[in-house]
C-alpha cells in the first residue's frame, strides 16, 4: 500500500500519535489527549503507526457531516487511506468498499435486520439470556461474566441467524480475537483471516448443497445465481460473524462493569419494567462506552472544506465516535453516565451509508440483557478491584478480557 505523508496542514509537525492511551482509573472515558484535541478544534492532525498524518475530526456535527458526505471514500485500497494496521493482501468485505458495489452487497444481507424481523427474535433471545443465567445461578456464586454470559449471548444469536454451528464457537472466537487485535503480528492476523474465510467458504459449500432458513443459505442462493462469488460470500460471512459477537459481547461486559461502578444508575435500570426506559438506558450506554474506539477511517476523494480548514483530495480522515459522543455542544455534561437522558442521536454505530448493519439486533439483544441480568441477579457485584480488570486497550473493539463477578 502506498501512503501519502502529508507535511502540509495545521499542526502536522507536532501531530500527536493516534490512537492515544486512556487515563488510568478512567476506563470508560476517551483518552484525555483526545479530549484536548477536541477542545483545540474540530479538525486536527494526528500521526499513525506508519508515520502518516491524517486528519482527525473531533466534533459531533462535523463527524456526521463527513461520514454522510459522498466525497469521502471507505475504500481501504486507495492511497492515503489511514489504515489502523499494516495491510496484507487479503480481500475485503463491503464495509471497506464504496457505492455502488457497497450498496449492492449490503442490500443482500439487510433482510434479517429489519425492525419486525429483529422483534420476532426477541423471545428467542430472552430464552437464551434466561438459560445462561439459569446455568450461572446453578453453579458456584462467582464467574467470569465474559465467558459465562457476555460472549455466549451474541454468539448464540448470530450463529442462529447465520446458520453457523455454535459447536464451532471456540474456533471462530479464537480466530476473531486475533483478527481484531492490534497487538497481533500481521502474519498472525493474516492466518486468522485465512482460517475464518476457509471455514466460512466450506460452510457455504454445505449451505449451497443443502439450503436451510438462514442468512448464509440466502447468500448461497446468490452465489448460485451468479450475483456474488463464493469468496465474496465467505468474506461477508466472516464480517457478520465477527461483527455479530465481538461488539455486542463487549457492550454487555463493559456495560455491566460501568453499571456496577455507577450504583445509582444501576438502581434506575433494576427498578423499571418500562421498555422505553430500558431502550433509553441502552442508548445512553452505547453513547457513553463507545466500544468501537479506533475511529471510522476514510479518505477524501475531493477537497472538502470544514470550518476554515480544507481536507485535500487523497488525505486520510479518522472519525472517532467516542469523542463525538462526548461533545458538550450536543450532550450536556457528556462525561456523566445518565440513563435518563435522551441519547438517541449518538454516533456509536457510525453514520452515513456504512452505519452498522446489525444495529437493530444489537439494540434488542442489549435491551433484553440489561432488563434481565440485574433483575434476576440482584446481588451481582464485581469480584475484583477495578484496577485488576483487564481492559482491551489493544483491540479495535474496546471492552474487558475478563469480568470476575460474584453474587
Amino acid at each position: 500500500m502506498t501512503s501519502t505523508v502529508s507535511t502540509e496542514g495545521a499542526h502536522a509537525p507536532s501531530a500527536p500519535e493516534f490512537p492515544m492511551p486512556r487515563a488510568a482509573g478512567c476506563p470508560f472515558d476517551p483518552p484525555p489527549a483526545l479530549k484536548s484535541e477536541q477542545e483545540l478544534g474540530s479538525l486536527r492532525k494526528v500521526r499513525l503507526w506508519d508515520g502518516t498524518t491524517p486528519w482527525l475530526v473531533t466534533r459531533y456535527a462535523d463527524q456526521r457531516a463527513l461520514l454522510a458526505d459522498p466525497r469521502i471514500s471507505a475504500d481501504v485500497t486507495r492511497p492515503g487511506y489511514p489504515s489502523p494496521t499494516p495491510l496484507r493482501g487479503a480481500s475485503f468485505s463491503f464495509i471497506l468498499m464504496d457505492d455502488p458495489e457497497h450498496a449492492r452487497q449490503r442490500r443482500m444481507v439487510t433482510a434479517p435486520f429489519t425492525i419486525k424481523r429483529v422483534e420476532a427474535m426477541r423471545p428467542a433471545v430472552q430464552k437464551i439470556v434466561d438459560g445462561l443465567i439459569d446455568d450461572m445461578l446453578a453453579g458456584p456464586p462467582r464467574a467470569d461474566l465474559v465467558q459465562a454470559f457476555a460472549l455466549p449471548v451474541p454468539s448464540l444469536v448470530i450463529c442462529e441467524l447465520l446458520g453457523v454451528p455454535y459447536t464451532d464457537h471456540d474456533f471462530f472466537q479464537e480466530n476473531s480475537k486475533t483478527l481484531i487485535s492490534r497487538s497481533a503480528a500481521p502474519e498472525q492476523r493474516g492466518a486468522a483471516h485465512a482460517n475464518l474465510t476457509g471455514y466460512l467458504d466450506e460452510l457455504m459449500g454445505h449451505k449451497i448443497a443443502r439450503p436451510a432458513d438462514d442468512l448464509l443459505s440466502g447468500l448461497g442462493t446468490r452465489v448460485e445465481a451468479g450475483e456474488l462469488s463464493r469468496r465474496e460470500a465467505a468474506e461477508m460471512g466472516v464480517l457478520l460473524l465477527l461483527a455479530g459477537h465481538e461488539t455486542t459481547a463487549n457492550m454487555i461486559a463493559l456495560g455491566t462493569l460501568a453499571l456496577l461502578e455507577h450504583p445509582d444508575q444501576l438502581a434506575l435500570l433494576r427498578g423499571t419494567e418500562d421498555p422505553r426506559a430500558v431502550a433509553g438506558a441502552v442508548e445512553e450506554l452505547l453513547r457513553y462506552l463507545n466500544i468501537t474506539h479506533g475511529g471510522r477511517r476514510r479518505v477524501a476523494l475531493e477537497d472538502i472544506e470544514i470550518g476554515g480548514e480544507v481536507i485535500r483530495a487523497g488525505e486520510g480522515v479518522i472519525v472517532p465516535n467516542d469523542i463525538g459522543n462526548r461533545d458538550p455542544e450536543v450532550f450536556t455534561d457528556p462525561d456523566r453516565l445518565d440513563l435518563g437522558r435522551d441519547a438517541r442521536r449518538h454516533v456509536a454505530f457510525g453514520f452515513g451509508v456504512h452505519q452498522c448493519l446489525g444495529q437493530p439486533l444489537a439494540r434488542m439483544e442489549l435491551q433484553v440483557v440489561y432488563s434481565t441480568l440485574y433483575r434476576r441477579v440482584p446481588t451481582l457485584r464485581l469480584d475484583a478491584r477495578l484496577e485488576e480488570v483487564p481492559f482491551k486497550h489493544d483491540g479495535s473493539v474496546y471492552g474487558v478480557y475478563e469480568l470476575p463477578v460474584a453474587w
Binding site: 449490503r106 439487510t110 429489519t114 452515513g352 451509508v353 437493530p360
Partner: protein, 63 residues
C-alpha cells in the same frame, strides 16, 4: 408538516421505524417506506427524530 423519503438513499437502518412507526415502515429488505407523508403536528417531534437519526439523510421535512 410534509415528509419526503428518498428510498434510493436508504441503507435500511430502520431507525425511522423505531422513532415513528405510524409514519415509517420497512419493506422485506429493510428499505424504508413512507406511510404518512403529512403526519399530524402532534407527531412532529418523533418525525424530526426519525430524520435526525437517519444515517443516509434520506428523510426531508417541510413545515
Amino acid at each position: 408538516m410534509k415528509v419526503t423519503l428518498d428510498q434510493d438513499k436508504c441503507v435500511a437502518s430502520g431507525q425511522c421505524v423505531v422513532a415513528a412507526d405510524d409514519v415509517f415502515d420497512q419493506d422485506d429488505d429493510g428499505i424504508a417506506v413512507l406511510l404518512d407523508p403529512a403526519p399530524p403536528s402532534a407527531r412532529a417531534d418523533d418525525v424530526q427524530q426519525a430524520a435526525a437519526v437517519c444515517p443516509a439523510l434520506a428523510i426531508r421535512i417541510q413545515d
